[in-house]
Symmetry: C2
Subunit: 206 residues, 2 copies
DNA sequence: TCCATAATTGAGAGTACTCTCATTTTTGAA
DNA sequence: TTCAAAAATGAGAGTACTCTCAATTATGGA
């Protein structure tokens, strides 16, 4: 994942390729030192470019951080959308999406670290997750599995639990149990009883 | 709250009084610019002291941050312990503690902002909350209201929800509804059904 | 191949921060 | 009141960072 955007841009214009190098570099740097600690020097060194090139592509630090976050969010969203494309049960979609999102973020550890950081600083990320979640919940409501559409605050609660699950696994190593329990917790927050939540998770994750 | 530790140390030694001034200053600075953004210059300016004095009292930034966080945590813990001293129902204690903690943190907004920041950086804070929570949960288990003692990860989930509630109110203004729903969410995570959680919150908060 | 345009380079100006230390000021016990 | 010890001061050394820009190098269409 360290060269993800670089690889993806391999037959685009030079401008795009360099941009991608810098975005990959920014992700590594942020994963290592956090949004506030990542320096432009570090980003360009990782990218194998010189300091000045950065400003040929981005206005300032803020811009590359925003772009890098959005790029990751988009990639993960696409990945997950494909994963649940043929699942038509809302609860199942919520469980599978949540689990997949966390798994992917943990596996691509730079991405995970960046997401955890971004959730604390950038409200956009939360809104992004919210959009996808809402669609799945609407589906579950049609079936009567969930009775009320959660508001913005409840979505934030769910996002906080997901970020925590990623953080815990980046610190302590991969753990299926953490994923299971996070999915259960999400369903509990959405109003399922503990028993139903547990059954739903057991049914859709292995 | 801006001069809390200063006021509290008013008849201690000069050394203690200056220390308290600096801790109050550190809290304000961190609330304003975050743990990473708060500079020593800013802390000493707020305290009305000169730059060098800081190093007469603390080894480095890290030390004052740790001390300031622990001081706040201790004060809040004492405050809440007193509040629930004569409540012998575990669920009630959990609800009242959670609500009081969030309310206090939001009212003393510098403290709240610092706690939100510290939760993300310092594991200690989570452990601190954990200790108090565990006692209340043990009480609720004796009565059969909760069936399993939550492990470290579940405690972290609860702490994350509490931090989110504080953050939301620091951004958007005080809101009883956020407190209610956070208490409900905490009880749901602890295994209560949505109905029971709602009743418990309604019974103990007004 | 040629060459206008685009991209990259790296030195450095400007800024901000942490921490040290010789000096000055304050404190409080005798 | 006196004065040794304690505390506070602020200039500045050392470091690190952001962003600019004139100069250099690479690119790709004709």
């Amino acid at each position: 994942m360290r060269h993800y955007f670089q690889d993806k841009s391999v037959n685009l214009s030079k401008r795009e390729r360099t941009r991608s190098l810098l975005i990959d570099g920014a992700i590594s740097a942020i994963a290592e030192h956090g949004l506030e600690g990542a320096s432009i020097k570090e980003i360009t060194t990782i990218a194998g470019l010189s300091n000045g090139t950065f400003y040929n592509h981005f206005e300032d630090r803020e811009e590359v951080f925003r772009l890098a976050t959005m790029s990751i969010a988009q990639e993960l969203a696409d990945d997950i959308a494909e994963m649940v494309a043929d699942v038509d049960d809302g609860i199942a979609r919520i469980v599978i999406s949540t689990n997949t999102f966390i798994e992917r973020a943990v596996s691509a550890s730079d991405w995970g670290a960046m997401i955890v950081d971004a959730v604390h600083y950038l409200g956009d990320v939360r809104q992004d997750v919210a959009t996808h979640l809402r669609a799945d919940i609407a589906l579950a409501m049609k079936r009567g599995d969930i009775s009320e559409m959660p508001d913005r605050f409840q979505i934030h609660q769910i996002v906080a639990l997901i970020a925590l699950a990623i953080e815990a696994q980046l610190d302590g190593g991969k753990s299926k149990s953490i994923n299971f329990r996070t999915c259960e917790a999400v369903l509990r927050l959405l109003g399922l009883s503990p028993t139903k939540a547990q059954r739903a998770v057991a049914a859709h994750l292995t």
